[in-house]
Amino acid sequence: MSVTEYANPVRVTVGVGLLVLFVVGGVATLLDLPGAELLTVGAAQRALQAAIPIALAAIGGLYAEKSGVFNIGLEGFMIFGALAAAATASIASGEGAVTQAHLWLGILVAVLVCALLTVVYALLTIRYRADQIVAGLAVWFVALGFGPFTATVIWGGVSSPSLPNVDAITVPVLAEIPVLGRLVFDSSPLLWLTLFLTAAAWVVLYRTRYGYWVQAAGENPQALDTAGVSVNRVRYATVIFSGAMAGLGGAVLSIGIGSGFTGTGVTMVDGRGWIAIVAYLFGNYNPVGAFGAALLFGAMEMLQIQLQTIGIALPGSITELFPYVAVLVVLAAVGYTRMPAAVGEPYETEK
């Protein structure tokens, strides 16, 4: 049996994961790094929090791609989500104090706005057969322009003033459990929402009839059509879902765990939408795998704080690059993940 035959995506992913652990462990041992200080509950907490927006967008993106539409515009929808959430919370409070209710309203509006915007994107890519890669890039460019533009119209500058974020919820008693208590039962409700959505996305995709339709729309649209299910209707649903999830991810960034919208540079989303795409590729289109990959990237993002605590002070401009480098390493290792067969091809019913 040759190496290429033996290597399936799951084996490669596990292999790469073990390799990364082995290398990290090796380096830590060689440099005599205090492992216990690197792997603290605080570090895990920060990694989980950083993983939430990436995981949400990734789950949406994987549904779209499973059904045959590559939504490469996730980054753009995240920008719109981040802006819509901050703008809604800010406007709803009417220059006054922003309360928790305003924040939740902001998150809800962000999801709705992004779902509506994705309807246009879905129409262009599905009905009008736009090139999915180019149209997705266009979404990013449009968001990079109109995001800061709208912020300037509302706040007079490309960034919002500082806004509060969603309060953590502490479950009495359960929060006393060592490690797990602090990680899950004393954390942002958005983490629970993400964990719930991850599980639900897995169940729907692999255990319901609708999930099989989604998979069939991406693998063999003709067969699905023959079975009497509208391929494009399934695709519209998944693409709009992906936009809504990216919007939710963006809202989490700006007011869920962050403190407002930042529109400078490539905005506060700063490539997380692109990282989300790699997260679901690395997770081999499995929602649980995508969440795991998002956690890896979240840990990379927060590594700087860990390195500082053990006395390795790398400049911030370098540590900020860890997630991007990790994406390249992951893509080099699992780049050949098998895409659904019909991705990128518009489907037309033969009458």
């Binding site: 009008y128 109109f146 119209v153 480098v325 893509l331």
Partner: protein, 358 residues
């Protein structure tokens, strides 16, 4: 799109731009600004005075070079979204080379020309090498080049900022800038009297477009490259190694992006700074190339159009209180519409304005 006629492509490009501008004007009006004033200022900012024209041509020069870089890759069916990153590392290579070699070479015109040539060569080398990374990753690991090139854009920006900020900043300087290039390392402005636009720069850009058009259209290498983009199977049967072609395409594209970086460093900036503050020529270039249907010569008018839009947008940012990011958004809309030719074909059929030959 491959079989679409030149006329149809032109019509789609014009319709996309007009529709995007119209939407932009509607958004301006909806945000409570005066749309007529906006459009007037846009045109005046682009072509109203001689210095506005110089600014338009300066932006055109940059968009022409970066647009050609994007077009080379798109022509071969590869998406090089990393032109911005290759442009950043290329310009950085130019500044480092010039600053490092200047003490060893004579001052004055001779030294200036020599330094500019060496700096440009360094930019093309580094830009090409940086673009080869995603090329190799696509060819040998099947990694999607859209994502790898975008990650490399972030990495280029971060690493160059770190190097400029921590290693090349002169003692006691407050801003993260390198030293100025020697004053004799500059392109003369001639008729426009602008310190950041030179007719020579525009000439280099136009020449690059013509040379690339020649290479793509009239040489064996260009034929292989374009064939592998449109007819991958045919190219493979004809003995073209698709993996090698991907790497070569990206390298070629990155060399032109590096050249754009050299032009930015020498003609416009005269030193190097935090790349995240640079204009996003590499991204706007994607719109330029798409509008030109990825034809290197078509990039010339498209770059002029976007150069004008850019200059007009900057002018608006200075004079009206309309945020200039609006123009970036309009550029994005142009990309969106150009990606959707079917929208215009359908509109054409409905209104009886042609497009029914399909």
């Amino acid at each position: 799109m491959v079989r679409a006629s030149v006329l149809e492509r032109f019509a789609i490009a014009v319709a996309s731009t007009l529709l995007a501008l119209l939407l932009g004007a509607v958004i301006v009006a909806a945000s409570g600004y005066d749309a007529v004033e906006f459009v007037t200022a846009l045109v005046y900012g682009a072509f109203g005075t001689i210095s506005n024209v110089a600014f338009t041509l300066r932006q055109t020069t940059m968009l022409l070079l970066t647009g050609v870089a994007v077009a080379i890759a798109f022509r071969a069916g590869v998406f090089n979204i990393g032109v911005q990153g290759q442009f950043v590392v290329g310009g950085f290579a130019t500044v480092v080379t010039v600053l490092f070699l200047a003490p060893f070479l004579p001052t004055g015109v001779v030294g200036g020309v020599l330094l500019m040539l060496l700096g440009t060569a360094a930019a093309m080398l580094v830009g090409g090498a940086y673009a080869a990374i995603p090329g190799v990753m696509k060819a040998y690991a099947d990694a999607n080049e859209v994502i790898t090139t975008i990650m490399l854009n972030f990495i280029a920006s971060g690493v160059v900022f770190y190097l400029v900020d921590s290693h090349l900043r002169p003692e006691g300087a407050s801003a993260p800038n390198t030293e100025q290039l020697p004053s004799y390392v500059d392109l003369p402005g001639f008729a426009f009297g602008s310190s950041s636009f030179s007719v020579i720069g525009l000439g280099v850009a136009l020449l690059t477009a013509v040379v690339v058009a020649f290479v793509l259209g009239r040489t064996r290498y260009g034929y292989d490259l374009v064939t592998s983009g449109h007819q991958a199977a045919a190219a493979a049967y004809a003995g073209v190694d698709p993996k090698r072609t991907v790497v070569l395409t990206m390298t070629f594209s990155g060399m032109v992006a590096g050249l754009a970086g050299a032009m930015f460093a020498i003609m416009i900036l005269g030193y190097y700074s935090d790349p995240s503050t640079f204009p996003r020529f590499g991204f706007d270039a994607i719109a330029v190339s798409l509008l030109a249907a990825n034809n290197p010569l078509g990039v010339i008018p498209a770059a002029l159009l976007f150069g004008g839009l850019d200059a007009g947008g900057q002018y608006i940012g200075f004079t009206l209180d309309v945020p200039r990011q609006l123009v970036d958004g309009v550029v994005g809309l142009v990309v969106l519409f150009v990606a959707t030719p079917e929208l215009f074909r359908m509109a054409g059929r409905r209104t009886g304005l042609g497009g029914d030959e399909e």
